[in-house]
């Protein structure tokens, strides 16, 4: 069966970049957290969902050549740590880009892509990947 609920419950964050903002200190977190790691108790009841804009820039990256089997179709792929406009960092693949054109500071935006499947008869998982913004 694979793990259906485990993926399904993260869909709001994986499809729509829903994070959380601590209204006590203003910090944004992704994925959502129950309490603010800085404000602790003072943040209870003050954590509100926030949609990240999807825009960010490449903080670091690597070209993954030794990939797990489930990613073999995309090998080699660019994995990046993206610093979003809101300050949080997110890890995912960079697409629609040649590895040699990737650079730290490159502006990117989130799009929905297939993350993987649980075999040929299992569920398909979707989530965010990043592509360069057309300047």
């Amino acid at each position: 069966m694979g793990s259906i609920p485990r993926f399904w419950r993260e869909n709001p964050s994986r499809y729509n970049l829903v994070g959380v903002k601590c209204n006590n200190c203003g910090r944004v977190f992704f994925p959502p957290r129950e309490i603010c790691p800085v404000c602790h108790r003072k943040s209870i009841g003050k954590m509100k969902p926030i949609h990240l804009s999807g825009k960010g820039s490449v903080y670091s990256y690597t070209v993954v050549e030794d990939t797990p089997e489930e990613f073999a179709m995309l090998k080699p792929y660019v994995l990046a740590m993206v610093e979003m406009e809101e300050g949080v960092k997110i890890t995912s693949q960079l697409i629609d880009v040649k590895p040699e054109d990737v650079h730290i500071g490159m502006k990117v935006e989130a799009v929905l892509r297939k993350l993987g499947t649980e075999g040929s008869s299992g569920i398909i998982h979707y989530g965010y990947k990043f592509r360069p913004v057309n300047e």
Binding site: R6, F7, E10, P31, Y59, S60, Y61, T62, V63, V64, E65, D66, T67, P68, E69, F71, L74, Y77, L79, A80, M81, V88, K89, I90, T91, S92, Q93, I104, L115, G116, H125, G127, Y128, K129
Partner: protein
């Protein structure tokens, strides 16, 4: 809390040990340590076992019971505890064992670390190791453990201008050291070109920047200092033990170029030991990737932030340098059976401090340090060992 000493050590060869099961290597190391301590099985009060993922590698959980059983210790029904913290499972088991003796709960404690990785294929191993990073927000998106360290390396190069040549000095040194270690997985020196021309794993890290998949086990016997001299003329005191945690996902760290967990754990250990970094003559530092050793040198305090690559490249961490780092060969060349590594590091330092390190001996070493990391730096353990 009373002082604790290591009175016995044991370890297997590390490598692809096709003929040995996890039970076999766990017992081999344990029995070697017990013999080295000159004790009998009946003297053991408790057992701690460090192991990252036997549940996935060999589909076996409940490991402590297994090891206690096969070590012949179940006759006395001793307490047995399995400890897990990703790649730092061994060092965490050491700390738990240490605390149990220091607190007075037990007297003679055996701490073992073991991992059997090669019973599954390479692809499976990569997936299992990725369980130490963030499954939901890193692995699912295509991150592997090496790819996270590769992003650290890339950013480090961007901020400090370091080069792959400088990074390569780490595996080159560690292979040279391992060539003198009969227990090491790779006993051959390598040239920098080999590291630089190796096939890429996740750029800028190539195959020789990354520690191998290994089977192996190591064990130590702990005793309160006050009775240690009964068992050995060379008890080695655990003068400091530090542990720290940090975010699971690398992208949530304060600064991906500093392992805050290492900084905190080393300060905690040094403070307890009343030692400064300059007192450390020999160190086993977590080099699961070449960049990790370099960053650890900075985080522990051997060199300032950003200067680690040059420090290594200029030979300061060789035997005979400012501080001899990874005389065993490190994770890269000695091998990295995940749960065993933290204990193996302690075993090497004990050998050094006893003067039993043969060709890799650091002359006059009296104070040593071990540093072990879990995942991409979410757990760090640092121990200070010294001649009693």
């Amino acid at each position: 809390m009373r002082d604790v000493a290591i009175i016995g050590i044991g370890d297997t060869v590390f490598g692809e040990l096709w003929d040995s099961s996890l039970r076999k290597i766990g017992i081999e190391a344990g029995i070697a340590a017990i013999n080295d301590a000159g004790i009998s099985g009946d003297d053991v009060d408790a057992l701690y076992v460090g192991n990252m993922s036997a549940g996935k590698f060999i589909e076996q959980e409940h490991l402590a019971a297994l090891i206690a059983d096969y070590a012949g210790l179940t006759k006395n029904h001793i307490p047995a505890t399995r400890v897990e913290a990703g790649g730092a499972s061994g060092a965490l088991a050491l700390r738990e064992g240490y605390l149990s003796v220091a607190s007075g709960a037990y007297d003679i404690v055996v701490v073992g670390g073991a991992e059997k990785m090669t019973d599954v294929g390479d692809d499976e191993i990569t997936k299992i190791q990725a369980a130490a990073i963030d499954q939901e927000w890193e692995s699912v998106f295509g991150a592997t453990l090496p790819s996270l360290y590769a992003m650290i390396a890339r950013r480090y190069m961007h901020e400090y201008g370091a080069t792959r040549e400088q990074f390569a000095s780490v595996p080159v040194k560690n292979h040279a050291n391992a060539a003198k270690n009969p227990k090491a997985q790779y006993r051959k020196a390598i040239k920098p070109e080999t590291v630089l021309n190796a096939s890429m794993v996740a750029d800028p890290l190539g195959m020789f920047d990354c520690s191998p998949n290994s089977d192996g086990a190591a064990a130590v016997v702990l005793a309160p200092m006050e009775i240690a001299k009964k068992y050995t003329d060379t008890p080695i005191k655990i003068s400091g033990s530090g542990q720290a945690s940090d975010t699971l996902a690398l992208h949530q760290r304060r600064d991906i170029l500093t392992m805050d967990a290492t900084v905190h754990a080393s300060r905690m250990a040094l403070k307890q030991a009343r030692r400064e970094v300059k007192d450390i003559q020999v160190a086993e530092v977590n080099d699961n990737y070449s960049i990790s050793e370099i960053i650890a040198l900075e985080d522990i305090g051997f060199v300032e932030k950003g200067k680690g690559a040059e420090f290594s490249y200029s030979g300061q961490t060789m035997i005979g340098g400012k501080v001899a780092v990874n005389t065993s060969g490190g994770l890269k060349a000695r091998g990295n059976p995940l749960g065993a590594t933290g204990i193996a590091q302690a075993v090497e330092i004990v050998r050094q401090l006893r003067g039993e390190a043969g060709e890799r001996q650091v002359d006059g070493a009296t104070v040593g340090l071990t540093h072990n990391l879990g995942g991409s730096g979410s757990t760090a353990l640092v121990h200070i060992l010294e001649v009693a």
